[in-house]
């Protein structure tokens, strides 16, 4: 699957926690295609992060909290990607419901594996479970549930306390110290700026945790 074109592959984006809050969003880029996953009124949805009006990238930051609203002319979009806030619509566009639907954002693939959120440019293709394989998919679900707490960043290479198991899938490198920590490093997908890479350290439910510094502002 690694040889498939980037547009047809799943890429790890973030944790479901990152998208739990109202208007929380996380962005990335696959090849030339900017993508965004966003919580809109409780629904987590994914689109191409490009306004259908005049093609500006909507959310420029890798993550944050704010409505899905284009910075150029203020078009805002609902959970179906349909523009619902169009400044000057009565005088300049006069778009009714059907016209708005035709200008909906283009959806992107979105899938979860436990608390891990993946995105894909293509809408069609193998499911995330098919791409990962059922066994690995199930293991990731188990792991992500077993390490619910974010904590102090841990660098496996510097940690002498024990053996680390390493797993690589898609753009995601996991380092697991059983019972102690799970480090997730998501590399920026092909074509993406390094600012779209992310690292988070997760701890088991019983471990002491620190303040969560990874959640969107």
């Amino acid at each position: 699957m690694q040889n498939a074109s980037p547009e047809t592959r799943w890429f790890h984006l973030c944790l479901a926690d990152d998208l739990a809050g109202p208007n929380a969003f996380v962005t990335t880029r696959v090849g030339a295609v900017p993508l965004v996953a966003q919580n809109i009124k409780g629904r987590v949805v994914a689109f191409r992060n490009v306004c259908t009006h005049r093609f500006a990238v909507i959310h420029g930051e890798p993550a944050g909290c704010g409505p899905l609203r284009c910075p150029y002319h203020g078009w805002s979009f609902d959970a179906d990607g349909v523009p619902v806030g169009l400044p000057f619509n009565p005088t300049d566009f006069q778009l009714e419901a059907e016209g708005r639907r035709r200008l909906a954002l283009h959806p992107a693939g979105l899938a979860r594996c436990g608390r891990l959120v993946f995105v894909r440019v293509a809408l069609d293709g193998p499911s995330l479970e098919e791409e990962l394989g059922a066994a690995l998919f199930a293991r990731l679900v188990t792991l992500s549930d077993a390490f619910p707490h974010r904590g102090a960043m841990l660098e496996p290479a510097d940690d002498q306390a024990g053996d680390w198991e390493r797993i690589e899938i898609a753009n995601l490198r996991l380092a697991l110290a059983p019972g102690r920590a799970l480090v997730l490093h998501s590399a920026a997908p092909p074509g993406a700026d390094p600012r779209f890479s992310r690292t988070v350290t997760l701890h088991p439910a019983t471990a002491p945790t620190t303040a969560d510094a990874e959640l969107p502002a």
Binding site: T52, F55, I58, P71, P87, L95
Partner: protein, 329 residues
């Protein structure tokens, strides 16, 4: 081209530039040959040096003035071609020498006379400014002809400077490749200019409380305030995904004799240059956001954008580009 009810246009493929024209080397090379290698281009206003230079899409233009005579060349690597040079008032234009083609007056129509009148205010020049954008030059042209991003992109600068009911007062003229918009200044802004006028006794080409924006294809626009200050702008292509916006403030005064008058003029010019720079700095991120966004929907032919009532000038520009690129000679 299908028309939405009354106001907006969703263009069909072929009625606007393909998205790839905003980032490919092939399109850039075609524009270099057929647009910047052929069209009349704004070069500047001659000052004491009697020399003007410009670089657009890898072409270097060099002009010199000797008395009333002007000559120049266009350098394209090893190739050197002579220029045809002409003026519109104080504004100097040039193009690669060629047989046929429009005269400068034809190219500027119907704004030649108005531009010449406004250019009489190209006095008291300030240092030219160039601001780099990581965006194709056409994204900047689209931005400058976009008449309604003020409230979102310039909420604290342009937006409060124009009349609160700007929609009713905005007047846009469209004449194919060239166009003009004028905005009624807010009372407070017009009052600020009036006070400035009282101190500087500005030369005014018209008694108009407007911000006026006159666009000349392919990459020139003249911005004016209060019928006095003129700011020629030119968008210079540097690479498929980068460009430089070059502009120069002229603050024409009839009072520049005493040290006090000179100091006031200097501080006012500095303030206006800083203000203009702030506005341009606000435009830069959205132009760059468009540059980043276009490739992301280029594979989706149904996403063609939509052009509202105040965005027709942009579509006019696209169509002028298509015509120019389609010309084989």
């Amino acid at each position: 081209m299908s028309a939405h009810p009354v106001q907006s246009i969703v263009p069909e493929t072929g009625a606007f530039l393909p998205h790839s024209h905003f980032w490919t080397g092939e399109a850039f090379a075609q524009e270099r040959e057929r647009v910047f290698g052929r069209c009349w281009l704004y070069m500047g206003v001659f000052e004491d040096t009697n020399v003007l230079t410009a670089e657009m899409a890898g072409l270097r233009f060099e002009l010199r003035r000797q008395g009333e005579a002007m000559d120049g060349v266009c350098r394209d690597g090893e190739q050197v071609r002579p220029l045809q040079i002409d003026r519109c008032g104080a504004l100097v234009f040039a193009r690669v020498a060629q047989d046929g083609g429009p005269t400068l007056a034809d190219h500027l129509a119907p704004y030649g006379e108005r531009l010449a009148t406004m250019s009489a205010n190209c006095l008291n020049p300030q240092a030219p400014v160039g601001i780099a954008f990581q965006a194709n030059w056409k994204a900047l042209v689209e931005n400058t002809m976009d008449d309604f991003h003020g409230s979102t992109v310039h909420p604290d600068t342009i937006h409060p400077a124009v009349h609160p009911d700007w929609q009713s007062h905005l007047v846009t003229e469209r004449h194919g490749a060239n166009s003009d918009s004028r905005w009624l200044l807010a009372d407070g802004t017009a009052g600020w200019w009036a006070k400035l006028d009282a101190k500087l006794r500005m030369r005014r080409f018209a008694e108009e409380p407007f911000y006026r924006h006159t666009f000349i294809f392919p990459n020139f626009y003249l911005a004016t305030f209060y019928g006095a200050t003129v700011i020629p702008h030119r968008v210079d292509p540097v690479a498929p995904d980068s460009s430089v916006l070059r502009w120069q403030l002229f603050l024409p005064t009839t009072r520049l004799e005493t040290a006090r008058e000179q100091a006031f003029h200097r501080s006012t010019a500095t303030y206006l240059i800083q203000s203009a720079g702030t506005v341009i700095a606000e435009d830069c991120p959205v132009c760059e956001a468009v540059q980043q966004g276009r490739p992301g929907i280029a594979d989706l032919p149904h996403i063609t954008g939509i052009y509202g009532r105040r965005e027709r000038r942009i579509l006019d520009f696209h169509q002028a580009m298509l015509r120019q690129l389609g010309e084989t000679e």
